[in-house]
Amino acid sequence: MAMDSNDRDYTNGEITVFWQPSKCIHATTCYRELIEVFNPRNRPWVNMDGAPTDRIIEIINKCPTDALTYRWNDSEKNKLLENLNDEKISQALSYEKSQTDTPVMVQVMKDGPYVVQGNFTIIGSTGNKLKSMSMTSFCRCGVSNNMPFCDGTHRKAGFTSEK
């Protein structure tokens, strides 16, 4: 994977977690589900001792982008993972092909953005077509500095969606 100077990795001896901030769409899944490991208030923000390996993997698999990925430190186990990934990629490709008539999924995240997956077009208020995408998150807290997209500011702003 292409390394960016902001990319980080963290290990617990068993697996290594890779963090690519440029790919994060702030879906908030990681820290909402496993704050013991993924705590944006802490430095480093990933604490590999916060939960068992299988729980960390479970949450990484829920990350909607490649912002969080992992590898086993044991090369034998990694081979299994690679096979699994190949399977996932071919599944994703055939999914993409069939996607023209699959509804776009809009997921409202608690205290966070709208996470959108599928084939869609974003149009500005003047009717100008901004871009076509297949995955993004739109701000719903009102204060992102990268409108209309979520840039994670909802957390600092203390946005609560439950009232």
Binding site: V104, N119, I123, G124, S125, C139, R140, M147
Partner: protein, 79 residues
């Protein structure tokens, strides 16, 4: 007969919707207008029943989240 025509029109419309692009229209200092073929899932992960289009709150102040209720007029969006 009328009913039949009604259904036919509905069919044609649904077919069109399926093939047409799903659009997210950003309304300046207002909501997110979503139209086309999409599903909406709430914070509890359950599907929310909607028709072909919705206006989703972008200002954070709606009392009827995730939908826009007009509160943006006094609250504003960082657009």
């Amino acid at each position: 007969m009328m009913e039949l025509i009604g259904r036919l029109v509905l069919r044609v419309k649904n077919n069109f919707m399926e093939k047409s692009k799903t659009e997210f229209i950003i309304i300046k200092n207002g909501p997110l207008h979503v139209k086309g073929n999409f599903t909406l899932k709430g914070t509890d992960g359950k599907l929310i029943d909607v028709v072909d289009e919705v206006y989703l709150c972008r200002c954070g102040a709606s009392k009827n989240k995730p939908f826009c209720d007009g509160s943006h007029k006094t609250h504003g969006v960082n657009d």
